[in-house]
Symmetry: C2
Subunit: 397 residues, 2 copies
Amino acid sequence: MIAAATPTADALVDLAIVLAAAKLGDELFKRLGQPSLVGEIFAGLLIGPSLLGLVAPTEVLELFAELGVVFILFWVGLETRLSEMREVGRVAGVVGLAGVALPFACGMAFGLAIGESTATAVFIGAALAATSAGITSAVFDDLGLLGSRAARTVLGAAVVDDVLALILVAVATGIAAEGGFDPLVLVVSAGAAVAFIAFFALGGTALLSRRPGLLHEPRFSESPLLPAVILCLVLAALAAEIGLAAIIGAFLAGMIVAETRDQHPIEREVEPLYAFFPPFFFVFIGLEIDLDALADGGALLLLGALTVIAIVSKLVSAYPAALPLGRKDASLVATGMVPRGEVGIIVAGIGATAAVIDDELFAAVVAMSVVTTLLVPPVLRRLAADDAEAEPGGRAS
Amino acid sequence: MIAAATPTADALVDLAIVLAAAKLGDELFKRLGQPSLVGEIFAGLLIGPSLLGLVAPTEVLELFAELGVVFILFWVGLETRLSEMREVGRVAGVVGLAGVALPFACGMAFGLAIGESTATAVFIGAALAATSAGITSAVFDDLGLLGSRAARTVLGAAVVDDVLALILVAVATGIAAEGGFDPLVLVVSAGAAVAFIAFFALGGTALLSRRPGLLHEPRFSESPLLPAVILCLVLAALAAEIGLAAIIGAFLAGMIVAETRDQHPIEREVEPLYAFFPPFFFVFIGLEIDLDALADGGALLLLGALTVIAIVSKLVSAYPAALPLGRKDASLVATGMVPRGEVGIIVAGIGATAAVIDDELFAAVVAMSVVTTLLVPPVLRRLAADDAEAEPGGRAS
């Protein structure tokens, strides 16, 4: 070696391994007729600490994973118009509310039933509550259904879910802390979340639909790509800093940019970023699976129980709530609400930091998130197969 | 706040601030008729620890800066054919060798003259030796001259420079360490560097010119973008791990990909990545400027002396070496060799870690790199103004 390898060189190696592994997994699963994102999650499991140990879930990889889901939701926002969200808004809101309430109640009851403390039980409930907007969107995109009414309903419900789950986490953190929680803080934060979303969803789209050339005005760029990406990062960072999920900011930014008339050239330009970052998100989920902690009967039983509760409680709550869309769409919506993914993992991580979620429970929640994610694509594909709209699409650019 | 801000959320905020600041600086400088990258460096100085203190040069930002220069060199490689490099190869080699030898000798002599130790003097020489391939390419690209013979010569010479400078660093590190350095290790590493470059430059381009459809074969992707980006990251990581600069791997990867027949669609797809990452590189250079350490007469004198030596020694060595290209091109080449940028900063950083470069000297070397970078674009623009080929181009996509 001419010079010693630096931390930057090591991080570069991690990025190269993760991206190459993701695409090998994707390739293999595509050839087997399976969905890409499942191949990418398995690639993460394979190269992660549980098996080959090539790569560990470092802070840098976590950031790239976050950028991955940020660009997924930005892309989804680009494909979404506020008017379309309004159209499904009422149903999505009911699906989201029902789809948080029942899984939360069931998860909490289960926690208490197996003898956990109230704080731990609240965390289990919160981890079961939120549908993963990122995974759900990627699955619908893979199936070429991102623009469908069912997909938009799931997406709207997942955003409602995310907000509610993060509020539940605040409550749970308060209960876990010694002093309990302050209801006033809760009301203020929930108000801030709603105000943030309303302000950017309504104000931002109104501004850009009135001045669609705005993103073209800067001279630093011939195209609106960088102004749009900056808006995405700024709203994502802002959302993360006020304690909302970064992806909500990214989704709003995409929806605002979609209001400009040049939606199509922008999509073509965002596509390479949408191809580059999301694999880091799916590999990272695989990296976080801890097979060792799951390697005994008790843990597997816990995982099985959590997974059954996760699936049944979403289906039972979301299907009736989505029935106004018709039976076919209601079953697509209910199935689409099942994948948990990153929000469940984040909630469990906060619980682990607060020392109310132990290693086994954490591993089981992560594995439950992955299992619910893996089960859904084949079912959705079958449900959608009759649908004439379905055509292959997705990130593969 | 609903939940506490995580390290990931903070990193997201840093990225948003850096990208937004870079593009505001770019915008301002474009409106003033100045080059973008200078505006981005000043944006980094403004938001960095020396002035506003909004952002510090963290490891995450260093990685994004590295990815920035990696994508600059990947882009430059895409625009370069091996045959064109061969055409300027001999002259570029001589320019590179002469352009390392004289600045190194002058820097070392200066170090000894001001009473520094031999080890410190060797580091000063090595920090003055290497032209920045990243900055030089960005400047030529800004002027629409990236494809010109002069630009290719500077690029080839800068690659030669980089390799030689990193070997000098190995020597310097050996001298700084107690045991001196082992000539055998040096020969082996230099051999490995040359073998790496020759293997990928010749073998990689031969493979892809024979099988131009290779990057289209994976099913995970409809376009060759991700296979190309993976090749870029893998070669960059490999180059960094064997102690070469990551950018040399990225440049080789670009040149290999350029051999495929579908060069043009790939460039259009790489463009968004080339728009996204490089601003982090230029802002990071600005972040590293330490105005406090330069705030006394002695330090400013040191900076002035280093800058004069840096400029004169490159001009005096590169101009005669480039004369076979004619006087006009020789003056473009000699001027193009002046910017130091990242390699000088990296060398000084290694010296600081080895405790042979103190804070004042480190600050002066960084500032010298920045000053040589800032002075060159206006001069190159004037020199190139007569040139009918010149048309605006660059990263602004």
